[in-house]
Symmetry: C2
Subunit: 353 residues, 2 copies
């Protein structure tokens, strides 16, 4: 059994009674308004302490319309990455965070359902929705005019958003491989309806076209995974099964890179001598893989801070313009990439079933 089931919270009026003043005076003291006599203030504060008075948030929300609660909407993939940073910065800015997961981010209906539940309670929304199926107006409608910031959407999208420049990140990765002499480069991308994955994929194709001769894009050496370890593993196996040769792989994130490394390892290929691998994200574990993974770092802490900061400024100051804040990733070179020596046994000979 629970003990003394509900402890009755003291109210403004309770404190007023105890301090022998009106509730308004108590309110003034609590909200630090001027024009309260020092001895009255003391008496009130005393009462506040003994009764352990705290303003009732729900009542405050009801009258002021402000809850200091934000809602984070995340799509299942995007999990671990930006969440800790967002949580941390929300707290730092004085907000608490409701976290909701969205199963089907592509349908406006599921978003609507999600918002129904909490809508009147929250001051603004942060949406990690890498599936840009909803226009600004659609989102604004769903959010009932509440401020929102989209995290990780298309570069150039006309909405309040904070994004990494995926084209830039991919360029770093490709240039790195090309500089090492790699020509036949395979790709294990994320799901192509994910805008990040798409942007990187498209960038890779465009770069290959632009650098014709120095490297090439082979459609049969481009597989899409789902950002999970297992899909990296099977994608790598699939690449090997094609029998086509490649000396390096661009992988959509570090988790899939880990899976791919395992597959190559099982196939007897050495990394980086036989296959160079570039990951994406720079997860905590990437520095400790064997070999440590060359990857494109996305600074999720910055992403979290920028997103929250932007959202809060939209909430508190209506003058903030709609804009897209762009962050730039960084290439972290470790030991999973090396120059293509050409004399090593390459995939294509070994990889044949």
């Amino acid at each position: 059994m629970m003990p003394d089931s509900q402890i009755k919270q003291a109210t403004l009026r309770d404190v007023a009674e105890m301090a022998r003043v009106s509730y308004q005076t108590v309110w003034r003291v609590v909200n630090e308004h001027p024009n309260v006599a020092v001895d009255t203030r003391e008496r009130v504060l005393q009462a506040v302490r003994t009764l352990d008075y705290r303003p009732h948030r729900a009542a405050q929300v009801l009258t002021t319309g402000r809850s200091y609660i934000l809602q984070l909407v995340i799509f299942e993939y995007a999990y671990g990455d930006p969440l800790p940073a967002i949580l941390h910065w929300a707290r730092e800015f004085g907000y608490t965070m409701v976290v909701t997961e969205l199963k089907d981010a592509t349908s406006a209906e599921s978003v609507r359902t999600l918002l129904r539940e909490t809508a009147q309670m929250i001051d603004g929304l942060l949406m990690v929705m890498p599936y840009p199926h909803l226009s600004y107006d659609a989102l604004a409608g769903l959010c009932q005019g509440r401020p929102f910031v989209v995290v990780n959407t298309e570069l150039g999208a006309k909405m309040p958003s904070v994004v990494f420049d995926q084209r830039y990140g991919m360029r770093l990765a490709v240039e790195h491989l090309v500089a090492l002499g790699h020509r036949r480069i395979a790709e294990i991308s994320g799901p192509l309806d994910n805008c990040d994955a798409r942007a990187r994929h498209d960038t890779w194709i465009r770069m290959a076209a632009d650098m014709a001769g120095r490297c090439e894009f082979d459609p049969s050496l481009s597989v899409a995974g789902d950002f999970e370890v297992g899909s990296g593993y099977s994608a790598a196996q699939h690449l090997l099964a094609t029998g086509r040769s490649f000396s390096a792989v661009l992988v959509g994130n570090d988790l899939m890179a880990l899976g791919a490394m395992r597959a190559f390892d099982e196939a007897g290929l050495r990394i980086p001598e036989d296959v160079s691998i570039v990951g994406y994200d720079d997860a905590a574990l990437s520095a400790y893989l064997s070999p440590p993974l060359t990857t494109v770092r996305q600074e999720f802490d910055t992403l979290g801070r920028e997103s929250v900061e932007y959202l809060v400024s939209l909430i508190e100051d209506r003058l903030t313009p709609i804009q897209q804040r762009v962050l730039y990733p960084e290439l972290i070179v470790r030991q999973s990439t090396c120059s293509r020596t050409g004399e090593h046994p390459q995939t294509g000979e070994l990889g044949r079933r």
Copy 2:
């Protein structure tokens, strides 16, 4: 600029006016009470739809005292693991979740601060606090009599809680290694003020004592990490630096196991031939390490479901008894462990700096 800044939400009274009935009738329709004439009901529902009426949650909280919001308090370590499951099940049970991180879980003061902010808004708390410094009464006091469930605390703790039996899990791991013939077993534990880490560590010591002769506990081969990859790496290096021989390592979680594997790899030791490794958790990536990691699986989805289910039953039905629900982990044997052949080069010869 944000567009038409705030969209005015329709209230019960607005709907009533439109449907030409009293707000009470609207309320009855919305809350599906009987005794409303069919045509009235239709008229009201029509008005509800055209005005897109939704009850104001804050007002509901104010009058009913129920918010259908739960608060999750997590200590930084315990991150990724139980969170997705808890989120999912909370939603499943009709609750939304406020997620708050706690920097210093050992001080009652920091908990109090955290709760102040949201206290009157939430129906109950879920605390992932593997630092059992607070008694049931202390916690109940902090929670102001609101129901709470502790996730991952000490086995046998007298509070509403859901835990894995860490002793059982560790026993599985140790028995596995002993059955494979390992005698000198090293340990990379989690931080020993963490009750999970502590329970496993203590179990290991007790088992070694009980099985005297068949395996042994060597204090200098027991290092505490912090559950992060990097600490597994340096702990493994430390083990090697002792110059003492060991043929297997019990690691506090899979992430540290990954770090340790890297360290052994760098030192030229093969896994499992030279060192067998047992992890803990069965993280998503563990099956894809090279070699795939033998580990003790904790079913976090079950943990999440049980925790939320328990909390909800405490909230909705005051008769639920205070109890501890115990879940049992499971040994997953993969390829990072093998029988000790004795003829292989063991650590101690190779490991010397």
